[in-house]
């Protein structure tokens, strides 16, 4: 099984590494193991950095594992092969009043990827991470062993594989408990706020009343305007509230080619952020959304990642514990604003305290900040190192699914369970991220 030598890219289009790709389409079949070298499961490649890449090794593409196995429309339990995408699950489940219990900002990820990165979403403050809603899965190891993993059975492998970045084995099938929803629409408010204090007040006030909460911050705000942004909060509407609403078909938008330079630069950023902040004149706007408009606005633009040009971009997501979260968030925003780098959408959210079963899971109680940086050379990497220092000092951590550059020490300090985790890593499995960050940590 030679496989093509290809240059599959992660979503950040950085780094670019040559590797072989082999396909797996039969969940009962053996792993397509190459004679030598390491392997890594690869789904839809939506991890931003190098955690879904295996430079010089082999990727096992799992999209062929795309069959549903069962769906109980009464209990909301759905079982499918791990290459099924979240978009496909929504298509099957939402018409019957079921939705994903947790979802990232794109639905174009596989079920296996969602588990391996223990993804989270705008309802983390209530429902925690994706892994909390996984009932069980089958883990196929390179020696051919198949482990049925759940909180009761092989619980140690269950914990290691949730957020385990695909290093503990290949997840072939999984069972997920979906969430009951009254309709395919959400209702809530968009609230303009002028400072971080307001943001934290709104977060505290909305945690109990709204299942989905997220904020956009103007990353160029300094002094007076530091920490200004829009606060979004929403709940799924009941069938009665949503009566008569129709989902609009969005136009098929796409970024067809990669522009020669990043379209996100100091000039466009300043104009966009000011316009975005001021687009809403009233302080509180009542809003309704379809599921796609609320959860997946960027999915409407195919290949949006191309706007950052041929050099690609770095996505940065960190979480800091509650103790100094306001001051640390301020310090991070100041550092970013001073640099003039950063992207259109800086996302800020307060996580809840539901603990994930995942050993290496990213979310923890505290505040998380996420944003994109077009790669402008050394300056970009140095800026992120300075942000790392602030995060680590505060006792926080960086999200591996979005990383392509953190130092091994940064990782080790953020993830104290790394030594326990190592025991469950499959001897044949590795990734560019694992070699760069975990092996030396």
């Amino acid at each position: 099984m030679a496989g093509d030598v290809a240059m599959p890219m992660s979503w950040g289009r950085y780094p670019r590494l040559a590797q072989r790709v082999v396909h797996m389409a039969d969940r009962r079949g053996a792993l397509p193991l190459p004679a030598e070298g390491s392997i890594l499961p690869y789904g839809l490649g939506r991890s931003y950095g190098d955690s879904c890449l295996n430079g010089g090794g082999t990727l096992i593409a799992t999209r062929g594992l795309d069959r549903f196995i069962s769906f109980d429309r009464e209990s909301g339990e759905i079982t499918c092969e791990a290459g099924v995408s979240l978009a496909e699950i929504i298509e099957v489940a939402l018409p019957h009043g079921w939705f994903l219990p947790a979802t990232p900002g794109t639905k174009f990820v596989t079920l296996g990827g969602a588990i391996a990165n223990d993804v989270h979403g705008k309802n983390h403050h209530r429902d925690g991470t994706f892994g909390l809603h996984v009932k069980s899965f089958e883990l196929l190891r390179s020696d051919g062993t198949r482990l049925r993993c759940s909180p009761e059975e092989n619980a140690d492998y269950f914990a290691a594989s949730i957020g385990g970045l695909g290093l503990t084995g290949l997840i072939t099938t999984a069972t997920l408990k979906l969430k009951r929803v009254g309709s395919a629409f959400l209702g809530g408010q968009s609230i303009k706020f002028g400072s971080l204090d307001e943001f934290f007040d709104l977060s505290a006030e909305s945690a109990a009343t709204h299942e989905y909460v997220v904020s956009w911050i103007d990353c160029l705000g300094e002094g007076e305007t530091l920490g200004r942004g829009h606060f979004l909060r929403a709940n799924f509407l009941s069938a009665e509230e949503a009566a008569g609403m129709r989902s609009r078909r969005s136009l098929p938008l796409a970024v067809p080619v990669t522009p020669p330079v990043s379209l996100v630069n100091r000039l466009t950023l300043k104009a966009f952020n000011a316009a975005y902040y001021n687009r809403q004149s009233v302080r509180v706007a009542q809003k309704t959304w379809g599921v796609d408009g609320f959860h997946y606005p960027l999915d409407a633009i195919a290949n949006w990642n191309r706007i950052y040009g041929p050099r690609g971009f770095l996505q940065y997501q960190a979480v800091v514990p509650p103790r100094d979260q306001r001051d640390v968030a301020e310090a991070l925003l100041e550092e970013i604003a001073r640099s003039g780098q950063g992207s259109f959408l800086v996302v800020l959210k307060v996580f809840g305290d539901r603990r994930s079963p995942g050993l290496m899971s990213f979310p923890m109680p505290g505040t998380t900040l996420a944003l994109d940086f077009p790669i402008l050379g050394e300056a970009t990497f140095k800026l992120l190192d300075r942000l790392d220092a602030i995060v680590v000092e505060a006792g926080g951590r960086i999200y591996a699914a979005k990383d392509a550059r953190m130092a091994p020490e940064t990782f080790a300090r953020g993830y104290p369970d790394i030594e326990t985790f190592r025991k469950f890593v499959d001897p044949r499995m590795s990734s560019s991220f694992a070699r760069r960050v975990m092996e030396t940590a």
């Binding site: 030679a2 093509d4 396909h23 389409a25 009962r28 069959r67 549903f68 196995i69 769906f71 759905i78």
Partner: protein, 244 residues
């Protein structure tokens, strides 16, 4: 369009056709060799919305059972709105060149078997007065090439037979649709390096369903632009064809 009979139901293109139709709540009668694979596909289609899925394990190379299989499918479904013939193998061209048995074996699965099914299904659907008969052929049937002329010859038979049936049975309400996919990324082509001309099985399957919905008959290429590529290739001289 809700009673669907598929021969070679485990083929990648057939699965995508079935998934698309399952969303609308169709009923299926699926025929294939592997009971395990049929079970998996049946479960998948059920979750995706199929009203019912019946499966039948059969070796489609056994020619004298095929007419009865068509009748069995029709009876189980209570009539046929869409029949899809999708089974086929990619024979080992080199082995065929030195073996009459290998060549005939390949032609039996890829040409004789579908021809038998087409004949009986044409009768059944003609008798009903409406319905579609979809035959998965290939662009490889448009010209003989040194690297795969046995496969190409089998597909040429399907294309010509389907084209003729479409003209003959159109007035009886039978929409015979010959689909000629170009390069499709499926398990059958897993060993080939992929380039920009390759399409996914899903896009080909969705294209077929769209054509059936529109009541198309005759020959279609999938994706459509293969029609222009093949137009050029059909007029190319032999020494050029021998290079591709």
């Amino acid at each position: 369009m809700n009673r669907i009979l598929i021969f070679g139901a485990t083929s990648a293109i057939a699965q995508e056709v079935a998934r698309n139709l399952a969303k609308e709540g169709a009923s299926f009668f699926l025929v294939a060799r592997s009971a395990v694979a049929l079970g998996d596909i049946s479960a998948d289609l059920t979750v995706r919305g199929a009203a019912s899925v019946m499966t039948r394990v059969a070796d489609l190379a056994v020619l004298d059972t095929l007419a009865d299989l068509c009748d069995e499918g029709r009876d189980a479904l209570g009539g046929i709105d869409v029949a899809v013939i999708a089974h086929g193998i990619l024979p080992d061209q080199k082995a065929c060149e030195n073996s009459v048995d290998a060549t005939l074996g390949a032609l039996r699965v890829n040409a004789m078997s579908p021809a038998a099914l087409m004949t009986r299904l044409g009768e059944i659907i003609g008798h009903q007065g409406s319905g579609s008969l979809v035959v998965i052929s290939s662009v490889a049937g448009d010209r003989g090439r040194p690297s795969n002329y046995v496969y190409g010859a089998s597909k040429a038979l399907l294309s010509v037979m389907g084209e003729g049936m479409a003209l003959a049975l159109g007035s009886k309400g039978v929409n015979v649709l010959v689909v000629k996919p170009g390069f499709v990324d499926t398990p059958m082509t897993a060993a080939f390096p992929k380039g920009p001309l390759w399409a996914s099985a899903k896009s080909v399957g969705d294209g077929i369903v769209e054509a059936v919905r529109k009541g198309r008959r005759g020959v279609i290429y999938a994706p459509f632009w293969w029609r222009f590529i093949m137009l050029v290739i059909r007029f190319a001289p032999g020494f050029v064809v021998s290079k591709i």
